[in-house]
């Protein structure tokens, strides 16, 4: 009898092994003595959570401490433009760089200069997406007017004049002739400008040299010295005629470091170099640029002296994205209104890089520039705007 009962007990236990819980219905237990074997921890697992935890009667008050770091390195300050007293003719100068902490880490330190926007201007009318042409078609024939409009109407801090007509495959404008455009623009506007070539590696050194010569002493920037062309000639021109130079590489921190170093070894002062690690736009490799810019900036602050220059972005690349340039007729139903879709594409490309440390943004669309500049203003202003109680969003009937 006893043996049978033990065997039965064993079998029941075997069957129950796979179950966590057993509910008995309509069962009466008749026993003189019941023995409960309690496994450690069993009750904690079985009891409902409400009974387990008691909500404190009062808030456990805590202090949040701002996690402040120190950085051994800092970014050099680069000045665009030279006033009369400084040997140029600019009424305004623009300073960038000088960061001591990562971008907008105001809880650590207020970096001295805010990121700036430079509008792209071309020396001949070029084919641009319609939403941009709309704003500039009246001035595209004249780069000086174009520059003026970008500054006066759209709040450009700077303009970049791209001498694209010098490209042998476009118009092959001789370097000296193209340089006249720079003189024109300098006479029309009183802000500093940046000078771009056509991107043709054989022709650019000559073009930038000629442009640098006609603007001697103005402290502009030559865009750009890169490893695939005669960068020495460009750096020498910047040195000789008192300009800054853009050190441009393609999505590669080591190459950026290498070129910066070469340019410094050529005798160019560090505070006249800006670096551009290439901007891949939103949706088209932005994450590469994002992380490369971030790595460059953090390495610089941590002390890598070859990377301690301000950063620049060719944000205009965003207009090469289909999401930005394709018309509503073709893609509106799928992607929404181009009026917003285009500018937001360019603006988000700028925004993301500004948050990881980029200082100069070459841009094209007035609406992208407007929201981006507002964003920068809001991030850097020492004033504090009154805002409604933020939790009211829950009951906003929208």
């Amino acid at each position: 009898m006893v043996d049978d009962e033990t065997a039965l007990g064993k079998r029941i236990l075997e069957i129950l092994e796979d179950y966590e819980e057993l509910e008995l219905e309509d069962v009466t237990l008749e026993a003189e003595e019941l023995v409960f074997k309690v496994i450690p921890g069993m009750f904690a697992a079985a009891l409902p959570p409400a009974a387990r935890a008691r909500i404190p009667a009062t808030l456990i008050e805590q202090k949040f401490e701002a996690p402040v770091e120190t950085y051994p390195g800092e970014i050099v300050e680069v000045q665009f433009g030279a006033t009369k007293a400084e040997g140029g003719s600019r009424k305004k100068v623009v300073k960038i760089g000088g960061e001591k902490v990562p971008a907008f880490y105001r809880f650590e330190f207020m970096n001295p200069n805010r990121p700036v926007v430079t509008f792209d201007v071309f020396d001949i009318p070029i084919s641009l997406p319609k939403p941009i042409v709309e704003h500039f078609e009246d001035v595209m024939e004249d780069p000086a007017d174009w520059a003026k409009k970008a500054i006066n109407e759209f709040g450009a801090d700077l303009v970049t004049v791209h001498l694209i007509s010098t490209d042998p495959y476009i118009k092959d404008t001789p370097a000296r002739e193209a340089a006249k455009v720079i003189e024109d623009v300098l006479q029309t506007v009183d802000t500093p400008i940046l000078i771009g070539g056509s991107g043709n590696p054989d022709k650019d050194p000559e073009v930038l040299e000629a442009a640098a010569a006609v603007s001697e002493g103005e402290r502009l920037m030559l865009n750009s010295a890169s490893l695939n062309l005669d960068w020495k000639r460009i750096v020498d021109a910047a040195k000789k005629y008192g300009h800054n130079v853009l050190s441009w590489t393609q999505l590669d921190v080591n190459n950026q470091k290498k070129l910066n170093k070469l340019i410094m070894e050529e005798g160019m002062p560090k505070n006249r170099i800006v670096q551009d690690a290439t901007t891949a736009s939103l949706g088209y490799g932005l994450e590469y640029s994002f992380s490369i810019y971030e790595r460059i900036r953090l390495s610089a602050l941590r002390g890598d002296s070859d990377l301690q220059m301000p950063l620049s972005s060719g944000t205009t690349n965003a207009w090469g994205a289909r999401e930005a340039f394709m018309s509503d007729k073709k893609k509106g139903a799928e992607w929404g209104l181009q009026r917003f879709r285009g500018p937001i594409w360019e603006a988000i490309t700028a925004l993301s890089l500004s948050l990881v440390g980029c200082d100069v943004f070459m841009m094209l669309h007035p609406a992208s520039v407007q929201i981006f500049k507002t964003f920068i203003e809001y991030l850097t202003s020492t004033k504090k705007e009154e805002v409604p109680p933020l939790l009211n969003w829950v009951t906003a009937r929208v």
């Binding site: 809001y378 020492t382 933020l390 829950v394």
Partner: protein
């Protein structure tokens, strides 16, 4: 080992190791391991019915240090004073929105249901309606515990996220959370001490929390917002402050406070700003965003940004393979091949775009490996390139058969010509030199070329080494299957017409080529067919070579030869 790897990658959890989790003698080891692999930002899950979303679970401040794990969840608002139609329409729109890009279907993640009415019964009814129309995870939003409680009752089995516990209501909300097992957002805009206190208090009783430090758009206050997110994340990860080691919630929807009566224009402008603010928070540590606009351009931009930022930097991502038009190419534009390693494809594409080269770009699926490595590793070979040319129907796009391959894949040239029937032009090693290449090297090889299997009776056609003219002659002959000799004269790539005008093509030049190529030994006849653009040279060539010259317009060439 495999289990350990999956733990580190957060594909499995410690409790998935059954012996460790169930055997009491491993209890300490279990707890220790759990502690060890719990990310400094703890993961929080909400939702159910097969559609769950995880927020947080992050290990690093900067994505290049490892990777970000759980993409920022994007929740879109509806509320309890919408009409039933409006509500259902919005819920469906949010749940159904999707765009396919770079190998993934982009989607939104959750629906935030707000109690605008502050009426618990009404809220519960609307929550029910939402649940019936979507399987997306929900966030129940009200500062009134009675509303949250009524809402939770309806969706308990789908474990919604509760918004929010504040300094004023935390005890009642904690009660609801404990009873339902739902995670809670603790909110304390602009006051991080209170935020941390709330997190400490609620998590002390085992409630999972997420932190809303306040999201504001405005002068100075935007800096506070971005700084709060940055400080909280840094405190959790670099200072190991476990109390704030929870997911961060951004609420760009705060931009809509007071916009109830706004005009359409103002609403669009608000959506534009909201998108921008949301984008900033995707870049700066938000694990969950609650937005109000329902504009598809906004969804597209945010989902794309999130896809970029949350791409694992340790894996070289591949781009889509296929045939792509760069600029506005036509039937004479060059055709180029590259691989689908994202960086390679991106650089080639941008080089072509920057140089304004209208062209056709064939992107080969090499599993995301670059040209040099894939050519060495076998992911790129002649057969694959030939297959791509035919699969993507490149021949239907162009009237030539000239394909440019990367300089680093030069060794496949011969094999590819045999496999595809296309003429292969070996391009530069760096796509930055493509403009120069097109200018100076993209020309048919001069000398004797042929179509089919010509013999001594086959016709001889003269043309210059210009891409367009050469293929204008060659393609119709190929298609008609007529075996022909083609004598290609080097004229610096100029078309016949310009070569004649600039005297690059002359009777003497033709004579020199005929001698060099020993054409008279190849054929028994003495008739040279020339395109009509070379008509002015008819007598000059006849005099120099002693051959009979017949002028034929290119389009009539096959017809003439057939006769």
């Amino acid at each position: 080992m495999a289990f350990a790897y999956k733990l580190i990658e957060h594909e499995l959890e410690v409790k998935d190791c059954k012996p460790l989790a169930t055997d009491p003698k491993f209890k300490k080891a279990f707890e220790d391991l759990k502690e060890l692999v719990t990310p400094p930002v703890r993961p929080v899950k909400f939702g159910g019915d097969g559609n769950e979303v995880t927020i947080g679970g992050e290990e690093v401040m900067y994505r290049h240090e490892l990777t970000y794990f759980n993409p920022t969840a994007i929740a879109v608002c509806v509320h309890d004073e919408m009409t039933e139609d409006e509500l259902i329409k919005n819920v469906k729109m949010i749940s159904e929105w999707t765009v396919y890009r770079v190998g993934a279907h982009l989607r939104l993640d959750a629906i935030a249901v707000k109690s605008v009415s502050r009426n618990p019964a009404k809220f519960a009814k609307v929550v029910k309606l939402v649940v019936d129309n979507t399987n997306y995870p929900l966030i129940l939003c009200s500062l009134d515990p009675a509303c949250l409680k009524a809402g939770v009752e309806v969706v308990k089995n789908r474990k919604p996220l509760l918004y929010a516990a504040t300094r004023d209501n935390w005890r009642e909300v904690a009660e609801i959370a404990l009873n339902s097992g739902c995670p809670v957002v603790v909110a304390s805009p602009g006051d991080l001490d209170t935020l941390k206190s709330l997190a400490a208090t609620l998590s002390s009783v085992g409630i999972q929390v997420a932190l809303d430090p306040g999201t504001a758009w405005g002068e100075g206050v935007l800096a506070d917002t971005i700084n709060s997110f940055t400080m909280l994340r840094r405190a959790a990860i670099e200072k190991e402050d476990k109390t704030v080691g929870w997911p961060l919630v951004g609420v760009p929807a705060t931009l809509w406070i007071g916009k109830e009566e706004a005009s359409e224009g103002e609403k669009l402008e608000t959506a534009f700003k909201e998108t921008f603010l949301a984008a900033a928070l995707i870049c700066r540590y938000a694990d969950l965003l609650i937005i109000n606009s329902k504009e598809i351009w906004s969804f597209l931009a945010l989902a794309t940004l999130r896809q970029n930022i949350y791409t694992d930097p340790r894996i070289h991502p591949a781009v889509e393979a296929g045939l792509f038009a760069i600029g506005s190419p036509n039937e004479w534009s060059p055709v180029m091949i590259t691989t689908n390693y994202a960086s390679t494809a991106f650089v080639v594409r941008s080089d072509l775009e920057q140089s304004k080269i209208d062209s056709w770009l064939v992107i080969i699926d090499t599993g995301g490996i670059g040209v040099e490595s894939s050519a060495a590793g076998g992911q790129l070979n002649a057969a694959k390139m030939a297959e791509a040319l035919s699969e993507y129907k490149v021949a239907e796009k162009v009237k030539h058969r000239a394909v440019i391959i990367p300089g680093l894949a030069a060794r496949f040239a011969g094999e590819l010509e045999d496999a595809s029937g296309w003429d292969v032009y070996v391009g530069p090693k760096d796509s930055g030199s493509i403009p120069d290449f097109l200018k100076s090297k993209y020309k048919p090889r001069d000398g004797t070329r042929y179509v089919g299997d010509p013999d001594e009776r086959s016709p001889v056609v003269l043309v210059t080494n210009n891409i367009r003219d050469f293929y204008r002659v060659k393609i119709p002959l190929m298609e008609a299957g007529i075996s022909t000799w083609i004598l290609v004269v080097d004229a610096d790539g100029l078309p016949v017409k310009e070569a004649v005008e600039t005297k690059k093509l002359t009777g003497e030049a033709v004579k020199a080529y005929m001698q060099r190529e020993e054409v008279e030994k190849k054929v028994s006849h003495r008739e040279l067919l020339v395109p009509e653009e070379a008509a002015p040279l008819k007598e000059e060539i006849e005099k120099a070579t002693g051959w009979k010259v017949t002028v034929v317009p290119c389009e009539k060439l096959t017809e003439k030869i057939k006769k």
